[in-house]
Amino acid sequence: MKYPAFALPIVLLLPFAAAHAAPDHVPDWVQQAVDNPVTLPRAEKNAKAVYLLEDTLLTVGPDGHAVTRYRAVVKILRPQGREYALPGVSYSKDEKLLSFHVWSIGSDGHQYTMKDKEYRDVGEEGYGILYNDERARVASPPGADLGGIVAWESESQFPGYLNEDMWEFQYLIPKVHSVYEIDVPQGWHQRAVWFHHAAVQPAEIAPGHFRWEMRDVPSIDVSDVPLVPSPRALAGRMSVHFSASPIPEGDALWASIGNWYEGLASPRTEGATDVAASARSLAGDSQDFMARIAKVADYMQQKIRYVGIEIGVGNLQPHSAEDVFKNQYGDCKDKATLLVSMLDAVGIRATWVLVDTRRGFVDPGTPSMYGNHAIAAIEIPKGYDNPRLEAVVTAKTGKRYLIFDPTNAYVPIGQLPVYLQGGYGTLVAGPDSQVIELPVLKPDLDVTDRSAKFELAADGTLKGDVTVVRSGPSSGGLRHRLTESSDKERTESLEGSLRNDFSTFTLNSEDFKNIRNLDQQLVTQYDVTAPAYAKTAGSLLLVRPRVIGSDAEGLNDEERVYPISFESLGTWRDSFDVKIPSGYAVDEVPDPVSVDMGFATYRSEVKAEGDTLHYSREYVLKKLALNADQYAQLKSLEGKITTDENSTAVLKKRE
């Protein structure tokens, strides 16, 4: 919670001292970047700004301490490009800031050099992070306007506990010239791995000094692109590993990363007697593997609050299981650590999986320790099986693991949150560490069933009861929102969603069942009255048979460049009965729809049976991702769904 101070404390504000006179000349490297003629390709005609130069140099000392020097020159091409001309550098206890300089050139050609006292320092915020020691030094340079140039240079210590750096040469705006250099001591090694770009060979411009260079790197512009993966999962990048020892490649490098993390995290699980006692108490006498892990998992999900406190290496290394248990709070890696520790106490082996919630960011071809989340893998005893074990992977060792996210309190053990499905992660298993593909749950394991019985009056009023039953990981998001909502907010939220289906309505009653009972389906039941639902047109009464809910995605007509990414696989089914008013007969119903696109099927039908209009449909999504060239197919499907959802049945007054 944000707690306001009693009163904002009172101090005298001192005006900025007058800037002392100093010659304002940009450095040569800035001037050279500015002087180089730039012609952006047509595809970049809407670029808001452009990096004329981005240049990173990582210098590793013989003692392993490293320093990063970063330089950037940005030109503002459109007024809204000002947002890219805000120099800044992060620093922390382990990434001490050594220097920061900012220059700018106004559109009138005037050159400026900013003074130290003109910079600001701000704390960095992260979702759920109560405290971290990361700060940023930022600047608002003069002349940062249309046609203006902003340049900055920073030097900061590279964290001593890391031996991998990342060169993100592709960004939201184009880059004319991007350079990455690493200088390692004699006898040291470096290995570069590439993501979404063919490997580029470096030039060794001096012994141990390697230089990679890119020119005219296109932007990743995902604004207004529907169903698009995270830009971080699309942008090209290079990870460079450096070490005094030879650096393995491929699977061996993944193993090395996992092994290193195990050394960092594993001690944090040890020596907690309270944890062990609690775990044994939770597991009870049950000998069934699933029952035992479910008890511990439930405890993690229901009792351990998400609170992030990260200092220095603490952004990678978990707090001790003992502390997490004592405080009953922790962040993702803390929760995974406590889980590992508790399961260990009841004789079940578990470990960490380092992942990223932006599906596609972690790539098996790009061994790297970068990611934004930690979850757990629980080793399944040989020969054991249980229908609840849905999110299972088999490692190269032949061991089977149940993948579980203890941070997500709304997806039960056995399943996997949708944001993780189909991604990759580092299974931390000592020398057997490896990259694993996270499971994708089948469409029949993530189901939404909407059913309703309505009665239509001759004046067009529709009244009826609706039941929506959700099962599978997709229901986790709704369970979360409902849990965090009051009764009033739940009602208002449901009313808000019914706006999409009715122009006028009254929600008479509503009920939500099994919100936190993750083993049970999430059930929403409500009773709604919608005056003027059916529209009168002379002797006709016009009814939309698809009364509630939509399966359509909002697409646009822009040329598709990026792949298509769905949130999850799943099955959505509707079954609605509308009893028509006496004195009316069904005159026309929409044609049935049946589409099979391979990656999805959609079937819908409206039938008149006696005095009832019955609408049924089923939409099954079978693939998580499509190529950009399948966009036309998807649009065709979505067009058919939209048409079906808005189609009209005609009732006619009997003569």
Binding site: A7, P9, V11, L13, E118, P142, K488, E489, T643, N646
Partner: protein
């Protein structure tokens, strides 16, 4: 704002009182009822409630202390376990953080963690930190109990601001304030928002409290006890209700009361304004060149306003740094400088307009207003920080007119809606006074939407859209164009329109007319294409209202606690023509409709068939910007009925395409 320094108070004698060694306070023993409470009948939807909250301020000993007991009722309520206390780093510290969590079974888990200091912002000599800590083992049903002390240097005072109404329900709260002793040789200096230093001789306070609560003053300071305080409301379309929350605000003041405060502060402000807006010879010369001797006051005003509107208003582009101004040899001391450099921020430009009008020989006054989109002016709250922007009042031909030159491209003689019906301080012939600005009529905020649509036999449509905006909407888009380029604004406009037109339709903005011309309505031309409506074997159903087909009902919630703020009255009228293909005829159209809400709103819709065209007209008029909570049902009903009518379809019969009766000439390829 031209000046926005913060209220500051300094003790002029260095006091040698040190922070006291407080006796270790005891915790409160929870009652069995508190422990077993799972929901609170007094706050049925609350995630958590304050069982008790106490703020104690001792300006003699230079500390504030807070003690809180919070009952967690839901998962969401666990958020209250994370405590974040922002404070100024220079001169202030947070100390003595203590706490404990009590489970519903009575188990106590003491807080043994280490509170951490997090940097929020450091700029120049100013540094704002935040003390953060998280309470241990907090579960639904827990009682969180914590306390801390904010201590400050001996040469500083910090009179309290008690915000009695909190985001969650408060069962009981107690506040106590021991002010600094200003008797004898001790005195307090204050610096107001205008930069004036003065000796504070009194302690004033403003209170807005429930009718049964009152601050009492005794030998040992000020005291307040309150019970059962509702949580701050949070509803969509709500006026800035935080301005009306229960509170008590104390001030060390050189003034005897609020009347004297506003009079004196108004005088300082007015003097600043007059100094800046001096009708200098330079401005007189400039004005004499832009107006003709025979011009009426209105004509002079129009010309001056037009000249001022041409200047770059950096409030809508970018603030230029002192370095830039220095490099350009610019300085800003008076309106002359703004005129000379052709740019300034909103209040500077307003003052330039004021100066030029005065230079033209007219009586003109500045007015500082509270922006109604953010807060409401409260005369009992003795702070100039309430003032956001400045506007100008001109006496033209014996009648006072209001101008908003600081809002670039605001229509001549009109105010931006956020400056309407709001209070503030204005200059008068005899000083200053608190007054209220005029409102806007629905006629001032007119929107006219035209669509000319051709329906093809295959169900595809294409056509043109023309939309004219006056008033608030025109100003919104013009300001957007100042902040971004036209391409971006076209796209934003397109996205906004796309959301309301029928599904299947694609909108492309073609161009704007009058984006930089406040004297005319802003016109947007757009093209549409795609498909519209649905079909069965015999019929085609088109949406009855093209511009509202995708719009959702505005007020789905059935209940309402706070007034409804629509920002401004409005008048939206549509004319849509749909040309039908030869194989389609009209089977039925929506019935003509009028949904009036007396004095407040009206909705009219009519549909006519002319040959093979359908002409459809719709008008929605909202006559006021603010509705009382008791009018919510009426308002909701109005919008729902209008929305229901907007969804009435046009029903077309589909027949075979007529056979061409005249021979056509085919051209064979050569």
């Amino acid at each position: 704002m031209l000046t926005a320094l913060r209220r500051s108070v300094c003790v002029s004698f260095l006091l040698f009182a040190s922070f006291p060694a407080l006796a270790a306070p005891t915790w409160t023993q929870p009652t069995p009822e508190e422990l077993k409470m799972t929901a609170d009948p007094a706050a049925p939807n609350a995630p958590a409630v304050y069982l008790f909250r106490e703020e104690t301020v001792d300006d003699k000993l230079h500390f504030h202390s807070l003690y809180a007991r919070i009952k967690v009722l839901t998962e969401k309520g666990k958020d209250y376990a994370d405590v974040e206390i922002p404070y100024e780093a220079h001169g202030f510290t947070i100390r003595n953080v203590e706490g404990r969590t009590i489970h519903s079974d009575g188990t106590i888990v003491p807080f043994t963690g280490r509170p951490m200091d997090k940097l929020l912002m450091k700029s120049g000599d100013r540094k704002v930190m935040e003390k953060v800590f998280s309470m241990p083992d907090v579960q639904v049903g827990s009682i969180i109990e914590y306390r801390y002390v904010l201590a400050y240097d001996d040469n500083l005072l910090s009179s309290p601001e008690w915000y009695v109404q909190q985001p969650i329900y408060v069962h009981k709260a107690h506040y106590h304030f021991i002010p600094f002793d200003m008797s004898g040789s001790r005195y307090v200096t204050t610096r107001d928002s205008q930069g004036h230093e003065d000796v504070a001789s009194r302690l004033l306070y403003f209170q807005h409290l429930p009718h049964d609560a009152k601050v009492t003053e005794g030998f040992n300071g000020f005291d307040l006890a309150v019970d059962d305080i509702e949580a701050l409301p949070d509803e969509p379309f709500m006026p800035p209700m935080h301005s009306l929350s229960y509170r008590v605000l104390f001030y060390y003041s050189p003034f005897t009361d609020g009347v004297q405060y506003w009079k004196t502060e108004g005088k300082y402000w007015s003097k600043n304004v007059d100094h800046f807006a001096t009708p200098s010879d330079k401005l007189k010369s400039a004005v004499s060149q832009m107006v003709a001797p025979g011009d009426t006051d209105e004509q002079k005003l129009q010309k001056i306003y037009a000249a001022v509107m041409k200047l770059e208003n950096t409030s809508f582009t970018r603030t230029h740094t002192a370095e830039e101004n220095k490099a350009e040899g610019l300085r800003v001391k008076t309106a002359d400088d703004i005129w000379e450099q052709k740019r300034g921020y909103d209040d500077q430009i307003a003052r330039l307009f004021l100066a030029m009008v005065r230079a033209a020989g007219m009586k003109a006054y500045a007015m500082a207003v509270t922006n109604r989109d953010e807060s409401l002016f409260n005369a009992g709250y003795l702070s100039w920080r309430q003032m956001d922007d400045e506007i100008v009042i001109v006496n033209a031909g014996g009648k006072e007119e209001y101008f908003d030159p600081g809002q670039r491209y605001c229509e001549f003689g009109k105010l931006s809606w956020k400056h309407t019906e709001t209070a503030g301080i204005r200059q008068t012939d005899n000083g200053t006074e608190i007054t209220t600005t005029p409102g806007l009529s629905y006629k001032d905020n007119a929107t006219r939407r035209y669509a000319d649509i051709q329906l093809d036999p295959d169900g595809k449509v294409h056509g043109d859209i023309r939309i004219l905006f006056a008033g608030a909407q025109a100003l919104r888009w013009r300001h957007a164009a100042l902040r971004n380029d036209e391409e971006e604004v076209k796209k934003d406009f397109e996205d906004e329109l796309q959301r309301v037109v029928p599904p299947g339709i694609t909108v492309k903005t073609d161009h704007f007319v009058g984006l930089n011309d406040y004297t005319t309505a802003l016109m947007v031309m757009a093209n549409i294409s795609g498909t519209m409506g649905t079909a069965t074997g015999k019929r085609v159903f088109l949406p009855g209202s093209f511009f509202e087909a995708g719009e959702k009902p505005r007020f789905p919630e059935t209940t309402r606690e706070t007034p409804i703020d629509l920002n401004y009255a409005s008048d939206v009228a549509d004319q849509v023509t749909i040309k039908l293909p030869a194989n389609m005829t009209v089977e039925s159209t929506p019935q003509d409709t009028d949904i009036p809400v007396q004095q407040l709103a009206d909705y009219v819709e009519k549909c006519r068939i002319a040959g093979n065209s359908i002409n459809y007209g719709r008008a929605m008029l909202i006559g006021t910007d603010l509705f009382y909570a008791k009018e919510y049902t009426t308002l909701r009903d109005f919008y729902q009925k209008a929305s229901a009518h907007d969804q009435e379809p046009l029903v077309l019969k589909v027949g075979p395409m007529p056979v061409a009766t005249t021979a056509t000439t085919s051209v064979k390829p050569q």
